[in-house]
Symmetry: C2
Subunit: 300 residues, 2 copies
């Protein structure tokens, strides 16, 4: 890997592109329903890492495409992420007051608006993905394939299924198989979909696509393992959200099942598998390699 790759500048630049795109393309708060639009914008535009959009673009770059061409598709992923955070934070779910350092959506806008803002953001992702103006120059088959990839990952066989299992297993003895189910679905599926969608958009051949999916699978797992570790060891202020929630709620996590040290070791093993999956790619995949390393190192 090219050690001169400047991850910080890269992440910052890409994050800014996503923020500007969302700022410009999210609905404007007018009409008798303007409050719910404010709630959508409040959550989607709040300070975040924009990792999922960045991964989509980086995967397109890695297979030889031009990632920034796919900013709309990348930003659609951020809408889905924002929706999932809003609904996860609701009183009936994780009941959280703080997210990204500011009050959660329902704390700021009330529960009804938060539920609807989440619904609207999920729906808006599909509006972006199917919009002719955002798909200019793309083959229609590619557009459908991306919608299918992202739709599958965010639904019952992906994120929603994982979140449901997570809620249902609270306080219960959970074996490794169930824990892996939760992790793979709740966080992993949409990370993997970001990589896969980026690869499809970038014009990956079947072998490239297979490697990208493998990379995405491991990266997704890594992401959730690190989230679990941060909940135990992380700094509340830096994270912008409450920590130690998992233990409090008796949630199924890797640290709870294997202990902190073994979990960190597993993280290193999975990181290696992720990096290995990229072996067929040259320096054009350095951003992906660098992001994978960052996922393990990050402190928020």
């Amino acid at each position: 890997m090219n050690s001169s790759f400047d991850l910080k500048t890269y992440l910052e630049g890409r994050r800014k592109l996503v923020d500007e795109w969302l700022e410009e393309n999210l609905p404007r708060p007018v009409g008798p329903h303007s409050l719910v639009i404010e709630a959508m914008r409040y959550s989607a535009l709040s300070k975040g890492k924009r990792i999922r959009p960045i991964l989509l673009m980086a995967a397109a770059d890695a297979v030889g495409g031009d990632g920034t061409r796919f900013l709309p598709q990348a930003s659609a992923l951020e809408c889905i992420h924002a929706y999932s955070l809003i609904h996860d934070d609701l009183p009936a779910m994780d009941d959280d007051d703080l997210r990204r350092g500011v009050p959660t959506c329902h704390k700021a806008f009330g529960e009804a608006m938060a539920i609807l803002a989440g619904d609207a953001l999920l729906n808006y992702a599909f509006e972006i993905l199917s919009s002719p103006s955002h798909s200019k120059g793309l083959d229609p088959e590619t557009v459908i394939s991306v919608i299918g990839t992202i739709g599958h990952a965010s639904g019952i066989n992906g994120m929603v299924g994982g979140q449901a299992a997570d809620v249902l297993m609270e306080g219960k003895e959970v074996d490794e198989e169930t824990l892996r189910f939760i992790h793979v679905h709740k966080t992993g599926a949409i990370i993997k979909a970001a990589i896969k969608a980026g690869a499809i958009l970038g014009g990956a051949d079947p072998i490239q696509l297979e490697r990208m999916e493998e990379f995405g699978y491991h990266l997704g797992l890594l992401f959730q393992i690190k989230d679990d570790l941060l909940d135990v060891e992380g700094d509340e202020k830096r994270l912008g959200k409450r920590t130690k929630k998992d233990a409090e709620k008796k949630k199924a996590t890797y640290p709870a099942l294997f202990g902190i040290e073994r979990t960190k070791q597993m993280g290193q093993e999975i990181l290696k598998e992720a990096i290995d999956a990229l072996s067929i790619f040259g320096p054009e995949a350095d951003a992906l390699r660098s992001v994978a390393n960052y996922v393990v190192r990050r402190s928020r």
Copy 2:
């Protein structure tokens, strides 16, 4: 109009097709998240009229297509409808205990599962619409156009926007313009989208499509006006849900703004406009005409 058209048999037959399709194609309750799948199935398969799917198929028939070929797309609309009912019934929204004669989703499965089941059903609609196996033989451009049509109607510029306005205007003085905004968006948009999507799938030419959109607009308005009237005059048992809620919650409705008699008269006028929009079509649009009449006459 062909007076021999047997609406009851027609509706019953089409309803059955949709029910069978959903029964067969909704996810099966297995895995650690099986409860949320049960909640999805509970709500989507509970007794309903399946009007939106039937309208999609009828519109395809009316423009010379074969409506039943588009059962998956039609059923996707029912998933969106079911999701909207689940979320509307939540304690933070309309707080209803009864729907279609049975306990609402959150009463049966708890709030967390109800929120997630709604999310999953909305998402599942887009999974169906983008699935290659459900789009066999369809032109990819048509598939994207249908996703865009339905996505626009169910989101912030359609159903979610209307529902948000409805919640926000509770207890407030509402003028006719705002009332129309709520009706056109909350219920009208998805009805219009059902008609438009059916027309697109059935291969409508631009003039047919324009007429269908006009018909759909009026039918959607008619639908919500009748819902308002049923809330005032309807039979709770027959409707399978609580009535007199609108007045109790000081909701913006046509009867509240114009009185019952004037509202009924307006319904007749809008029905006429809807039927007029179909003037270029022959007997192949009799089902649509008949459904429009039924919407005004229905008692549930």
